[in-house]
Symmetry: D2
């Protein structure tokens, strides 16, 4: 039984973590923190947990985390993890951080893309990017896992097999991504107010979203050090969950059949990637599950490959992936606690 | 007072036509047909028109259209207009056809993209593509107007100023389009059944949508005969109305400022195109209106221009545009009957 | 041309007022105020009005309203109108107030239901309840019109014909009301955040909503001074607009046919009430329009009459009704500027 | 390991059954039928089950069900179970029928409310109404369980404690129910077509819904044979899942506190009923779970008790309840396979 703490337990990602971990046969939830709701029970904030998770929420103090905890999940807002994680590691906890704070290796990227200086740049070298499909063995040995962003997960998985074979023309890559509204977090803001958000569709942060360097870093690494470059444009869909990414890339010199073989081979051991030959992915088919569905199509006339990927932004794009990483770190089956089928 | 007939009045486009025409100060609605609902009142099929449009629906017989009618709107399904339009023209009516049946000039494109031989290929030469922003004077003299498709409207307007200046690298053009569900028409089908369509997002007809040649034909013509080529991928958004298109093209050798000047100049007389310098378009801001909103952004790192366009698929993408064409054909102000603000 | 001012122009009701008034042939919009957005153009806050209403928003100072204004619409939050209206009347403006501040006659009801002492109790005697279907002649002579609430409009109209005939058993009246989310206003709050509000349904303020005394006051007045009493329970529907009310009342000693005749007779001159004999009302059929649709059904086994009413909460439930009142006050046709059909 | 068959496996209720049963530790799924999709794999019809439930769908022939099956779930349309169930029982299978075909005891109710003569009236005496909260011991011994309808589940549970104490004034009971669209089944029809169903709210079958006699039968039985009578009005909410029922009844001669005690006592052993003292139920808080949430409120002025109940129509209202019944019939813990928390 692995004793576990969750920091930032009441946000969307934190809540999904609690839901998955509460049902995980190898986990005991022993500490939940919330900055805004400390003192309340978790089930008072999220009544669907009444009688199931009535743990009292605590304020975030590293020293309050009980001895015996083996791993701490940080589901804090971006920029709030970096100051906390060093203390967690010093106390000997393994850490799975769901924020962006330990994903980028060059410290200089933080001021540029996130607007703040990194307070613990030394840790950026040792953190492991927690995308199990491309990084399983490093994750299994890691003390600090940087859990990928939702958009990067949906963008890297469809391109990874090509990148690993150095088949990508980096001048040609466009990632047109569409996300459900839970991706924006649990704080009410005008753009996510039901009457203005429902029955509406829009693009945002066109061409300068902060997830871009994360995507490029990991794809470049997969491609053996090539300088990866992508155009990334996110859009907001009036749905609760899900990310569908439409990825455009110059057709590599292979047939569609050959590419499908490549993808199936690359993901042979990846239980959570489904390469779809017949059907096209839809977000509802992965809702609530840890799957990433992928399909390939060719625009022959334009010489272009089109890859469609689908994930649940809160599961494979955040909390499910974090649990998958934990499973690797503690020797559980990768799918332990993650077998829920979408509905 | 122009006397008007609408064929196929009970579908989504037909109903919007009736709504707009019933409120148009220069129009008298004298004949409405419906294949499935002949014999009923229009307001029995669409009760929001009770007391306003109680006209009895007739079956589609060309000879039943009264003398004195000046223009016939065909809002019939694709493939159903082509057999009817020759008879309408013989009776001396002007025709505005909302189907795809007279949009493509080479007859050979119909078997390839639509799956049927064109029964009146001779008319394809004389039909006028009814996109007023690029074709106003031809429309004003036309007897047969082929009203553009909703996707082509949202795809051509963002590219037209570049095409007209021959600034487009046709190897680089991608149109990633997202449409509301009314674009699929009024017939219930599994993919549009609320429980499977709500809270869901998907791509469809990836890279082979039948609107592709229409887009290429008109952009090529604008570019003085260049062979235009685009990758076009449509997606389905869980909203009722609206199309947002994200258009990617290699950055022409101009500054963003210069491009904005070019767009404003090109659309100086186009009352229904709003070139947005500050804000990004959202479908709700054009819902129910005849506007097309456009914004330009640059991905400097990738050398790529990104153009966002938004229309209401049933108004500027269908019925509003048809009324705009009628206004041109009969000497009304282009915006007559089309000044409704979105809500 | 009636010169008009709108206070609180950027909230949902204010924005709808501006939209309707901008298109009204007898109105000139000369003053718009906004507490939070003063200094911006109206069209910067609501870009769908670009080029149409670019008026600069002003802060709310009574003395800044230009001479020549004939009527001021107050679309301020509840409790904010009461301190302002006396000054407006002193300057000689007619006032149509969309808040609840002048709807209840006994001043004592304000502390009990709204939580504040009324600052101008003397005006409560002279304000006219602006429901044109029951109060047209008083409205036409009024200087201060208290525009009804959205729920009261949807609750009074289905019961008014019975009340006027004293056919209501007041022990039996239940109003189960369901509203779209725009009824909660434009300020983002957790209960209206898209991910928590979409795909969800709930009741709120069960049995103690502040609209209850307004409903009872007007129904009692219609019933010639009977003490009206209703159970009122509102619910939140994941839709943008619309209120549907299901009203239960003990079957009066009349046949359904007789009751339909009574309703048609009562509303003979009420252009905006549609008594539906065949169909049941749906909110989409009144969306964006000023109609109230009504239908009657009988549960024979239980001896109960069930009345369904539907309105658009922002039009007939707020801004459309305010314009209708203005039309009465200035001698326009009641439907002037209000003929938009739902879509 | 209980071997199980599901007839009608591809409809919404059948699919949820398969999802729950596939994850149930004591169940082996050995036979799935589908009238329309026989020959396909289950996972071809519902791709979210790829790699998880690839069972081939069979046509519905009783003799094709393998020996060794212990229980057959019938998730067939209303009227299709009655002809099949006798043969299933003859083969010695226990049967849990999700249709209405064995819920009503007097055969004469079928022609009146469903429009057909019952082909196996003898079984109506021996079938057990499968609402475990009021009928657990009979269910545990039953050979034929009539699984309750979704509306009756949401209507009986909020009234059962009052009925059992004979505290209900049957002249006063109104059940105003609101359901998500999945309640209408998986077949596309105009009223459930996304563009007409989204952003819309309506009532239907007002006062004569076929679930009424089922509600009255079970409440009457609970009340020791009183003649129960309710007014039942269903409404359609633009959401996928969930039923919220607002139940009105004359205040019994007890305090609210006393009533809460009564409810908590009545449901002391009912793990899936949550009596909520503080919060009001919302459908999202039971989505995907087998819970029924209940809250009580009083309208003091009108002397009326208002009870709010919430269920997921496909889980507690159909498939989850069926699994709960199976657990009782085979000696499993009632909650086995049903512990999923809503999300």
């Amino acid at each position: 039984m692995v004793k576990v703490a969750v920091l930032g337990a009441t946000g969307y990602a934190g809540t999904e973590l609690v839901r998955l971990l509460a049902d995980h046969p190898g986990v005991e939830l022993v500490f939940l923190s919330s900055e805004s709701q400390a003192g309340s029970k978790f089930s008072q904030v999220h009544p669907q947990f009444e009688g199931l998770v009535d743990t009292r929420l605590q304020s975030l103090q590293v020293e309050a985390i009980p001895e015996g905890v083996k791993v701490v999940f940080c589901a804090l807002p971006h920029g709030r993890s970096a100051p906390v994680v060093p203390g967690l590691l010093q106390r000997g906890f393994k850490v799975i951080d769901l924020s962006a704070d330990f994903r980028l290796h060059p410290p200089a990227l933080y001021p540029r893309w996130y607007g703040w200086e990194h307070p613990a740049p030394g840790l950026l070298r040792s953190s492991v990017y927690g995308l199990p499909e491309i990084n399983a063995s490093a994750v299994s040995r890691a003390r600090l896992v940087a859990n990928p962003g939702c958009f990067p997960t949906g963008a890297i998985l469809p391109l990874a097999p090509l990148a690993a074979e150095r088949l990508v023309d980096w001048d040609s890559v466009i990632i047109d991504a569409k996300t459900g509204v839970s991706g924006a977090g649990r704080t009410p803001r005008p753009g996510f107010h039901f009457p203005d958000c429902s029955d509406n569709f829009k693009a945002y942060r066109v061409g300068n979203h902060q997830h871009t360097p994360e995507i490029e870093q990991e794809l470049g690494r997969l491609a053996g050090g090539e300088v990866a470059r992508v155009t990334f444009v996110p859009h907001l869909v009036p749905m609760i969950r899900g990310i569908l990414s439409t990825v455009y890339v110059k057709m590599p010199g292979r047939s569609l059949e050959g590419l499908y073989d490549l993808y199936e081979d690359f993901y042979r051991d990846s239980i959570f990637v489904r390469v779809c030959r017949e059907r096209l992915p839809e977000t509802r088919l992965v809702r609530g599950s840890n799957y990433c569905d992928l399909a390939l199509r060719v625009d022959e006339r334009a010489g272009r490959l089109i890859i469609i990927s689908c994930i649940d932004n809160l599961i494979k794009g955040a909390s499910g992936q974090a649990v998958q990483n934990m499973n690797l770190m503690f020797g559980y089956l990768q799918e332990e606690g993650l077998t829920q089928v979408s509905f």
